[in-house]
Assembly symmetry: C2
Homo-oligomer: 384 residues x 2
C-alpha cells in the first residue's frame, strides 16, 4: 500500500546478522533502502526527501470487495530544506535508527520507550528532538506506512490487554500454551502475536467467542462455556488492543474459525464490532492485517428486550451523544448499505435505551452462557 | 474487625449444601445470622436494624505495630423505620440475598452483575430498588464490613488485570500453571485468588519483582529476567487491582517471598507503593488480607538522575498538582516518621522533576534489566 514501498531484499553491502528472523531481515532491508535513498540524494547534491503516504480520512478508501478499510495512494513529501518540515524529517530518521537498533538487538519496546530513546537535546542548541510523546507516536505511524511494515514488525509493542482460554494449544516463544488448562485466569494476550512468536498447534475449537469485558469473560470461563461449546473464548478488556485483534484475525484466516462477537447493544459496542470487522480510519493502513470482514455480531440485539422478555431494569436511556454517535455509525459505508445493520441501529434508537451483556443476569446468573448464546448459535441468529 | 461479627457456625435449621467449600459455609453462616437477627427483631415487634461499621477516614486507624491501615470500632445503625435509611436497609437485604444465591450456585459475579441482579421496580410503585451502580457498590462494601467477609468471599469479583511469569507453578481451579513456560503473554491474573481457587505448588523463586506497567513487564520478560534472577515477575497494569494485591500478599505470607516494587519516581508511583504496603483508606477493612507491610521500593529513586548519569531527556517537570500530592503522601502516618521516605519525597521535589521506569531506556534498551535492578538487588538498595 505504501507508495514508497521498499524493495524486498536488503542492501547487499551489509547483510543482516546471522540468525535474524525472515520478518526482521525484510524490515531491516526496508530501513536500509530508506537510508540509502536519503544519503544518495544528499551525496548527489539533491535535497533529501521522504515520501510519506497520507494517513487522513480523505485518503481512506472503503474496499467493498475485500470488506475492509484501506489507505489510498496519496502521499506527501517530507523535505529537509523546509523550515516547517525539517524537524519532522530529523525525527523520522531518528526513529528509523532506533527501530534498526531494536531489530538488530532482537528486542522490542513500547511507544513510550521509543520516544525516550530518541528524546535528547540537539547538541549546541536548547532544542529537544522530541518534547512529548504526542509528537513521537505519529512519526512512528509515518514510518509504518512509509516502510509498509506493521508496528509489530518495527519491534514496537502496544499494550498487553485481554485473555484467552479454550480448545486450542499454541506455542508462544517456544513455550506450549494449552488454553484448555489455564484455570480461572487464562492466557494473557501479548501485544506482538506474529507467526514467529506465536504458532497454533492443536485446535479442536469450531469458533471463537469474543466478548467485550473481562467480567463477562469470567462468567463464560467459570461456566466452562468453551468446553461445552467447543470454542475459544477471548476478551480485549474493552476496545480490543492490536495484539488481540491480530490474534483473532490469525485464528480466522489460518484456522478458519468464525469470530463471533458478544458486545453491548450501544454505539460503543457497535463501534467495537466495526473496528474488529473493517478496521479503523486511523489504522486503515493496517486493516489487511487486523480487520476480520467475516466477524459476526451475535448480540446484544435491540430485539432482545422483547424476545428474551427482559425486565425494565436492563434499560439504560440513550443520551443525545449516543443518538448522534448511532447516526454516525449508521452512516459508515459498510453499514450504510446493510439492511440488517440499518434496522438494528434504528431499533435501538426506537427503543430509546441501550442494553449491556451483563444485564442478562436479571434473567439468571448463567442465562447468557446456558441459554442466550447457545440458542443464537444454534439458530445462526447474528448480524454480519 | 467488624463489630457485628457473626458467629462462626451456620444456623442449624438449614445446613449448607453438601460439597460447599469451607470458605462458603462460613460466609453462608454469616449471611444467615444477619437474616435471623433481622427477622427475630421483626417477629418480636421490634424495629429491624443492622449495625454497619463506618468506612470513613475518621474511622481508619494506622496500626503502627502491624504496619497496616485498619478500620476502627465505630458503627452506625441502619434502621428500617427511618425515612432516610429505609431504602438503604432494603438495598442491603437485597444484595445479601443475591450474594446468598451466588454462593449457593457456586458462581461469581461482577459489581455490575450484582447491581443488575438487584435492580428492579418495586411492585406497585415507580420506585427502583437501585437507579445506578453508584448506589449499589457502597452497599456491597457495607455488607463486606458487616459480615466481616472479603468481597471475594461474597463471590463478587473485581477487574482481571495484570500478568505473571517466573519460577513458580501454581494450581488454578485444578489446572497446573507453570509460570516458567508462559511465553511472552504470561498467566493472566484472575480477580479471585483465594486458597480454594489458587494453590502454590513448586516455587524456586527467591523474590517477586512487581512492576507498574505491562510495557515494563514486557522488557523484563523478554530479557528472561525472572530466569536469570530466580524470581517471579508481576504487573498490575497501573494501580494493581485487588486480585493482584492479594496474590502478592499470599506470595509474601505463604512462600515468604520479598515483594520488591519497581515504580515511577512520581507521586503516583509512591501512592501505588503505599497502597501495596499499607492498604488504602477506602479499603482499610481489608488491609489485613491485602496489605504487605514488608514490601520494598527499589526505584526509580530521585537520586538516580545523578547516580545513573541519566540524560536531560528523562526529566518530566513536576506540576503544582504533583507537588501538592507529594506533600499529602509525605504526611501519611507511615511515611511521616520514616526518614528515608521523607528524604526521598523531598529529593524529588528538590529535583523539580519526575522520572519513569521507561526512561532508563535512554541508557540502553536493557539497562533496566541488566544493570539497574540487579545492582540495586545486590546492594539491597531500596526503601521499605
Amino acid at each position: 500500500m505504501a507508495k514508497k514501498a521498499a524493495s524486498k531484499t536488503p542492501a547487499k553491502s551489509a547483510p543482516a546478522k546471522p540468525n535474524t528472523k525472515p520478518r526482521d531481515v525484510k524490515t531491516i532491508g526496508k530501513l536500509r533502502d530508506l537510508a540509502v535513498a536519503v544519503s544518495k540524494r544528499a551525496h548527489s547534491g539533491k535535497e533529501p526527501v521522504i515520501d510519506i503516504p497520507t494517513r487522513t480520512k480523505s485518503n481512506t478508501i472503503w474496499n467493498k470487495k475485500r470488506g475492509i478499510l484501506e489507505m489510498g495512494d496519496a502521499a506527501a513529501t517530507r523535505e529537509l530544506f523546509n523550515l516547517n518540515q525539517a524537524k519532522q524529517f530529523m525525527q523520522t530518521m531518528l526513529h528509523a535508527s532506533t527501530i534498526k537498533d531494536l531489530i538488530e538487538a532482537d528486542k522490542t519496546s513500547s511507544l513510550r520507550g521509543v520516544f525516550y530513546k530518541a528524546k535528547h537535546t540537539v547538541a549546541g542548541t536548547k532544542e529537544n528532538t522530541f518534547d512529548t510523546q504526542d509528537e513521537s507516536d505519529p512519526i512512528l505511524e509515518d514510518l509504518e506506512v512509509t516502510l509498509g511494515a506493521l508496528r509489530e514488525e518495527l519491534h514496537v509493542f502496544a499494550e498487553n490487554r485481554g485473555a484467552m482460554v479454550g480448545n486450542v494449544t499454541l506455542t508462544d516463544k517456544g513455550d506450549d500454551i494449552d488454553c484448555r488448562r489455564m484455570g480461572s485466569g487464562g492466557y494473557a494476550l501479548p501485544s506482538i502475536v506474529e507467526p514467529d512468536v506465536i504458532q497454533f498447534k492443536k485446535c479442536e475449537a469450531k469458533f471463537v467467542l469474543h466478548v467485550e469485558k473481562g467480567t463477562v469473560w469470567n462468567r463464560f470461563n467459570e461456566d466452562r462455556f468453551w468446553e461445552k461449546n467447543n470454542c475459544i473464548l477471548t476478551h480485549g478488556a474493552g476496545q480490543p488492543p492490536r495484539g488481540c485483534r491480530r490474534l483473532l484475525q490469525r485464528l480466522n484466516q489460518e484456522l478458519k474459525l468464525p469470530i463471533i462477537c458478544l458486545l453491548d447493544c450501544d454505539p460503543w459496542g457497535h463501534y467495537i464490532y466495526s473496528v474488529i470487522k473493517q478496521g479503523s480510519i486511523s489504522l486503515a493502513f493496517e486493516s489487511s492485517r487486523l480487520a476480520i470482514p467475516e466477524a459476526k455480531f451475535l448480540g446484544i440485539r435491540a430485539k432482545d428486550y422483547e424476545d428474551c422478555e427482559l425486565p425494565e431494569a436492563v434499560k439504560i436511556d440513550l443520551t443525545d451523544t449516543d443518538r448522534k454517535r448511532a447516526g454516525e455509525i449508521a452512516a459508515y459505508p459498510w453499514f450504510e448499505g446493510h439492511k440488517g445493520w440499518q434496522k438494528e441501529i434504528q431499533a435501538m434508537i426506537d427503543n430509546g435505551f441501550k442494553m449491556e451483556v451483563e444485564s442478562l443476569i436479571t434473567k439468571d446468573i448463567s442465562y447468557v452462557t446456558e441459554e442466550y448464546v447457545p440458542q443464537r448459535l444454534e439458530e445462526e441468529d447474528w448480524l454480519e
